[in-house]
């Protein structure tokens, strides 16, 4: 019941960050995840990052999208 979108942190502020979804940028709150860092891949819902992905998880998503013939998930 929840649209959440993969995004990348491109700027960090205090409790917020600028994330990029394929170049669309937006401020989101990162208070709900531990130790956000520049370049981290996160899952964004309603203006909040709710999960931080590690590299293997990002690769898993890329592999799924490749299998479906889609473009890269997060850039």
């Amino acid at each position: 019941m929840c649209l959440a979108v993969p995004a990348r942190i491109v700027e960090l502020h205090n409790s917020t960050a600028t994330i990029s979804v394929d170049g669309a940028l937006r401020e989101v709150d990162v208070s709900l995840i531990d130790e956000p860092r520049l370049g981290d891949h996160v899952l964004v819902h309603a203006g909040f990052a709710i999960h931080k992905w590690d590299q293997s998880e990002v690769e898993e998503l890329q592999a799924i999208r490749t299998a479906m013939g889609l473009r890269e998930a997060i850039t």
């Binding site: 019941m1 979804v21 394929d22 170049g23 940028l25 937006r26 013939g69």
Partner: protein, 336 residues
């Protein structure tokens, strides 16, 4: 539920707009010329065919990435003529200005109108100005009417599409809508996407000059490609199948749509044209389009069949199929 007022969605170019036209406007105004409900009416005067259209522009903000309300007013009107195969010649220009609007802002917009008109080789030949009290309109509204000479050899109405036709588009979709939406209060996000607002007659001329058999053309503005193909499928009583893997969608448009939960097929375009041509002419049409700066990324995105009649479908990337529904009319960002 009470249904006694106009809603924002009635202006969205989707199902509610269509309903308003069919249930409220047509009963009082109906005549054979209006009933086709094409982008322009084609009139015969003195033995020659002319196309006549009207449009109003209420976009907010007045200036957006890639254009402004003035440029939009010229392009939107000349494109409505162009898709009927008419060379745009003359425009009327009518302003409704809000008390308090800065003259400098008005000047900027009028200069943009002038520049776009010169680029589109049309003349503004008559106009009007009204002023309303502060708060009664958002800066300014523009209304135009346009007149052109029909040069296409055959009728290009929405009811003219045939099974076997191919659907071509001149480039990536959703740019205008995303550019404007990024400035909207409450859902602001930043993007490099720029409106694709452009006058399309030179591209249309290049297509007509190939001598190809073109059945209809449409500029997919409000309601996007979805509204356009739904309308055409219904008017021509054919099935239109678009292929999801063939749809040209820019990376940043896709990102903005993913972020807000929107479908790129329903987002407005102001410099795109859908061309429905006879299958055997596809190669020629594509070649001519790709030669033109506004058609460099032209591609085939679907085809027309007899069945299911009146329905537009999307063949998905995983090989399934779903109906392309007529959008209701307002793009609302969602969490679900």
């Amino acid at each position: 539920m009470r249904r006694d007022r106009i809603l924002l969605a009635h202006g969205g170019g989707g199902s509610l707009t269509r309903e308003l036209i069919e249930k409220l406007f047509l009963p009082s105004l109906e005549n054979p010329l209006l009933k086709t409900l094409d982008d322009s009416a084609v009139l015969v005067m003195g033995g020659k065919r002319h196309a006549f259209t009207t449009d109003s522009y209420v976009v907010k903000p007045l200036i957006f990435p890639g254009g402004d309300i003035g440029k939009l007013a010229v392009c939107g009107t000349v494109n409505d003529l162009a898709v009927m195969g008419a060379r745009p010649l003359w425009l009327s220009l009518s302003f409704i200005l809000e008390e308090g609007l800065l003259l400098a802002d008005l000047q900027e917009i009028v200069e943009s109108i002038g520049a776009t008109a010169r680029e589109a080789r049309v003349q503004i030949v008559t106009g009007d100005t009204k002023v309303v009290e502060h708060g009664k309109c958002e800066g300014l509204y523009i209304n135009t009417a346009g007149l052109g000479d029909v040069v296409a050899p055959n009728w290009l109405g929405s009811a003219n599409v045939k099974p076997g036709d191919v659907v071509v588009i001149n480039g990536p979709i959703g740019e205008h809508g995303v550019a404007v939406m990024s400035q909207r209060e409450g859902i602001a996000f930043q993007t490099n996407v720029v409106s694709d607002c452009a006058p399309l007659w030179p591209l249309v001329k290049a297509i007509l000059d190939t001598g190809a058999e073109i059945h209809t053309m449409r500029d997919p503005t409000r309601g996007g490609v979805a509204a356009a193909v739904c309308d055409i499928a219904r008017a021509s009583n054919v099935g239109i199948r678009l292929r999801e893997d063939a749809l040209p969608i820019g990376r940043e448009v896709r990102g903005a749509c993913d972020l807000l939960g929107l479908d790129p097929l329903t987002i407005a375009n102001e410099g795109k044209i859908l061309v429905f041509c006879r299958a055997t002419d596809t190669a020629n049409v594509l070649a001519a389009m790709r030669e033109h700066p506004l058609g460099k990324h032209s591609c085939v995105i679907g085809e027309v069949s007899e069945k299911p009649p009146g329905v537009a479908l999307l063949r998905t990337t995983i090989g399934g199929e779903r109906i392309i529904d007529m959008p209701t009319g307002e793009d609302l960002p969602r969490i679900c």
